[in-house]
């Protein structure tokens, strides 16, 4: 396995989706190639940071508009 092939398989490896023949080749390449070990580290760091990004919520105005819409829709329905 060369470095380009290794780089293409990182997501498959992390999803545990490598087949039985590729998996040992992937791990063997990583053990012997410091460049790819670094690439792998940056790849997983990227994933970690993506999971930590703050997400803004709905504006209070939209939230209260939706709660009103829900209340009105419920009161229109027959019991």
């Amino acid at each position: 396995m060369n470095c380009d092939e290794f780089a293409e398989l990182v997501t498959a490896y992390l999803d545990d989706a490598l087949d039985d023949s590729s998996r040992p080749l992937f791990l063997d390449h990583m053990a012997r190639c410091s460049g790819c070990t670094g690439y792998y580290g940056q790849f997983t760091t990227t994933i970690t940071v993506l999971g930590e990004l703050p997400a803004p919520g709905l504006s209070p105005k939209t939230r209260s508009h939706l709660l009103t819409a829900f209340r009105e829709a419920s009161s229109e329905k027959p019991e």
Binding site: V10, Q42, F43, P56, G57, R63, H65, L67
Partner: protein, 203 residues
């Protein structure tokens, strides 16, 4: 949490679908508010994959919830409720995105934020937080440059933490296609991070 948003302690506290669906059908406002506060953040992010501004994404999420209110009586439970809601969102956002791409030059509106929605602040020590804050900003920006299909997948998988099966169902794509899109997206974002580290002489 700001804006009176109530968050649950963890996903284990979240009621199962039949309880939620019954609550929605019976007009239980607490149940609706719970859903609104649990899912809207992720929905806003996913909508942003398809539309050109944060304000537009907020309208997509609003339209989606209005559709959910109207249609919850027809929900049959063939998927999870969350998948069902997210599929409505994706359809709504795609339609709007297509409309926008015919009318608005994206470069003129990208990066704006709706009024009254402050970004949440990161916590932690000052120096680590500054560096982490820089990296986060960089990665956030890098995600904004991705094509919409890649952005949708990386948003759901890595930012929202959904499993690949659910992502395939929400986006109506095959597992192989999902993995290719995810990998391209991650590799592109990693390139931005590597360029940043090269500039800093860092790891």
């Amino acid at each position: 949490m700001s804006e009176g948003v109530v968050r649950l302690g963890g996903v284990t506290d979240f009621p199962p679908d039949p309880v939620i669906v019954a609550g929605l059908r019976n007009g239980d406002e607490e149940v609706f508010a719970l859903l609104l506060d649990e899912w809207s953040r992720g929905m806003l992010r996913l909508a942003r994959s398809y539309v050109s501004t944060a304000a537009s994404a907020e309208e997509v999420v609003q339209d989606t919830w209005l559709a959910v209110i109207r249609a919850v009586g027809t929900f049959e439970g063939r998927s999870s409720l969350r998948t069902w809601v997210y599929r409505i969102l994706v359809n709504t956002a795609r339609r709007r995105g297509e409309r926008e791409s015919r009318t608005i030059p994206v470069s003129s509106v990208d990066g704006e934020r709706p009024d009254g929605v402050p970004p949440e602040r990161a916590e932690g020590g000052p120096e680590g937080a500054a560096l982490a804050g820089e990296v986060r900003e960089l990665i956030d920006k890098a995600v904004g440059t991705l094509p919409s299909r890649q952005r949708a997948v990386i948003t759901l998988r890595d930012m929202e933490g959904y499993g690949s099966d659910e992502v395939c169902e929400i986006l109506s794509i095959s597992p192989a296609n999902q993995r290719v899109l995810l990998h391209r997206a991650r590799a592109a974002v990693r390139d931005h991070l590597a360029a940043y580290y090269d500039g800093k002489g860092g790891p």
